[in-house]
């Protein structure tokens, strides 16, 4: 049967053969991660293009419109056309910008979010680098985006951009807390920080964590949406107040990198949600007869979660900045702490002291 593990192993075998032919087998440990990262980069670029198309189609049909349908079949190549437009258009820059931070910011925004993809297991063994501190790594690395946004807002010498940068800093720092706290129960139950390990635990236990941990799931999705600066938490770029927020002064390729970064952040947070709460590559129980490979299951779940995030964006109004803080600190954090306590108590009661 076709599984992600088989694919990875056969590709690795092929690569090893190539290395042995070239006589560079000693370098395999160095080259392999590079190759897998490049493959992941290619995949994520194509997937993000699909997501942008999907977002436009989803929003269009929610608003009884058609959406892009001119370029390619069903408008699928619309994003490619947009990308070409963005790369070829004039790069308009404010004169009094801080040159170096202005250039670095979009790169940080893009790289920081992309690095989160590295530890996502698409299937058993189908992961660029299975870190044993996977969750910690993702939370740490996606926190970098705040630096990018703050830098972008500050360096572009625009009042709206600066306001957007400040808002973003406040928002991402506040929502990091419930995000981490919502993951804690899972770590308590499984006793591992590795994403692969968490999925394997769910496979062994026979249930997904969304069922015992529905509260954690809701908190995670909410804070992840806020982390990715998506509506209804898109106050850093609230177009009705701040025009474009932190990327007001960006155009062309630099804007595209912010845009790409936002979507990759959505993918990363949804992928983590799928891994932690929806059983990663495990098949859906009552559809198990389909015998699809694990990574297909993973993608189906991923797209479903992303659809929910998109539906949020196109349904809900935007919170105000102080209400956003209130919501984070007064609703999400108490609930997640309560969730940790309840989970700990229940697990202690069920499995006794020291179990798991």
């Amino acid at each position: 049967m076709l599984t992600g593990e088989n694919i990875v192993q056969s590709v690795a075998g092929l690569l090893n053969w190539v290395y042995s032919q070239l006589g560079i087998s000693a370098l395999a440990g160095f080259i392999n991660p590079i190759i897998s990262s490049v493959v992941m980069f290619g995949f994520i670029s194509v997937f993000v293009m699909f997501l942008v198309w999907m977002e436009r189609k989803v929003s269009a049909h929610m608003q009884s419109r058609i959406g892009p349908n001119r370029v390619g079949p069903f408008g699928l190549l619309q994003t490619v056309a947009d990308a070409i437009k963005l790369t070829t258009k004039e790069d308009v820059k404010p004169v009094n910008r801080d040159k170096i931070p202005y250039y670095i910011a979009p790169i940080i925004a893009f790289v920081a979010t992309f690095m989160g993809m590295v530890v996502i297991p698409f299937d058993k063994g189908m992961v660029v680098q299975d870190l044993n501190v996977g969750i910690l790594y993702i939370i740490a690395i996606t926190g970098f985006t705040v630096i990018a946004i703050l830098t972008a807002g500050w360096s572009s010498n625009n009042k709206f951009a600066l306001l957007g940068g400040f808002r973003s800093a406040a928002q991402i720092i506040s929502y990091e807390v419930p995000l981490v706290l919502s993951v804690v129960p899972i770590i308590m139950i499984t006793g591992t920080l590795s994403l692969t390990g968490i999925v394997e635990y769910q496979e062994k236990a026979g249930y997904w964590f969304i069922f015992p941990q529905i509260v954690a799931f809701l908190i995670f999705i909410t804070s992840a949406t806020a982390e990715a600066n998506r509506a209804p938490f898109d106050i850093p770029e609230a177009e009705s107040e701040l025009i474009g927020g932190f990327h007001t002064e960006y155009s062309g390729v630099k804007f595209a990198m912010f845009f790409l970064g936002e979507y990759i952040a959505v993918v990363v947070s949804s992928a983590v949600a799928v891994t932690l709460f929806l059983g990663g590559w495990l098949p859906v129980a009552f559809l198990g007869f389909l015998h699809l490979p694990g990574f297909i299951w993973f993608m189906i779940k991923l797209v479903s979660v992303i659809y929910v995030v998109m539906a949020f964006r196109w349904t809900f109004p935007r919170l105000r900045v102080d209400q956003l803080m209130d919501f984070g600190w007064k609703v999400l954090i108490p609930f997640s702490i309560l969730n940790i306590l309840v989970t700990a108590a229940v697990w202690l009661f069920l499995y006794g002291k020291g179990a798991q």
Partner: protein, 171 residues
């Protein structure tokens, strides 16, 4: 805020979010709800009364414009965008010689068409793509505005109902 009220608020809030999501999801799943008209391919016929382009009626049989240059349209125009001249012909009747309508200042209020007592000006609903590349092209003269009324009325029902309309009761 009381303890239970806090939880009640959180859950009623969640419920109302779901209600909102159900509305958008309903439209997302109902692909027939699309209302977009894809313009260059789908051209909807405008209603017969549509004020989309002003035309000068040209009488094909008599080989002349109906206009007699009575200047009623120019007087009725709020923006003075109609300029026309006429001469008295040998048979004693006035005939329009030049007619200029500046569509860049025309607001399509319809006063000129209403003021015309000689069936010389009309709105044509078929032509509604009025964009031009140069501003000068908006200043149209009688040749550009020449329009020959089709032998049959464009929509016979419309013409008949038009006449019968005042007699129709409310329901």
């Amino acid at each position: 805020m009381g303890f239970f009220k806090y939880f009640k608020n959180v859950f009623s809030g969640l419920w109302n979010l779901l209600v909102g999501l159900s509305v958008t999801s309903k439209y997302f799943l109902n692909f027939k709800a699309v209302t977009t008209q894809q313009y260059p391919e789908e051209r909807l016929p405008l209603p017969a009364r549509s004020r989309s382009m002003i035309k000068l009626i040209y009488d094909d049989e008599k080989d002349q414009f109906n206009c007699v240059a009575c200047l009623m349209c120019a007087k009725a125009c709020p923006n003075s965008c109609i300029k026309l001249e006429g001469v008295r012909q040998a048979d004693g009747k006035r005939r329009m010689t030049t007619f200029k309508l500046d569509f860049s200042t025309c607001i399509f209020c319809g006063y000129c068409v209403e003021a015309c007592g000689f069936d010389a000006l009309t709105f044509v609903s078929e032509e509604y793509e009025n964009s031009v590349y140069k501003r000068g092209s908006l200043l149209q003269d009688e040749n550009a505005m020449k329009w020959i009324r089709p032998a049959q009325p464009a929509s016979p029902e419309a013409a008949t109902t038009e006449a019968a309309a005042p007699a129709v009761a409310g329901a």
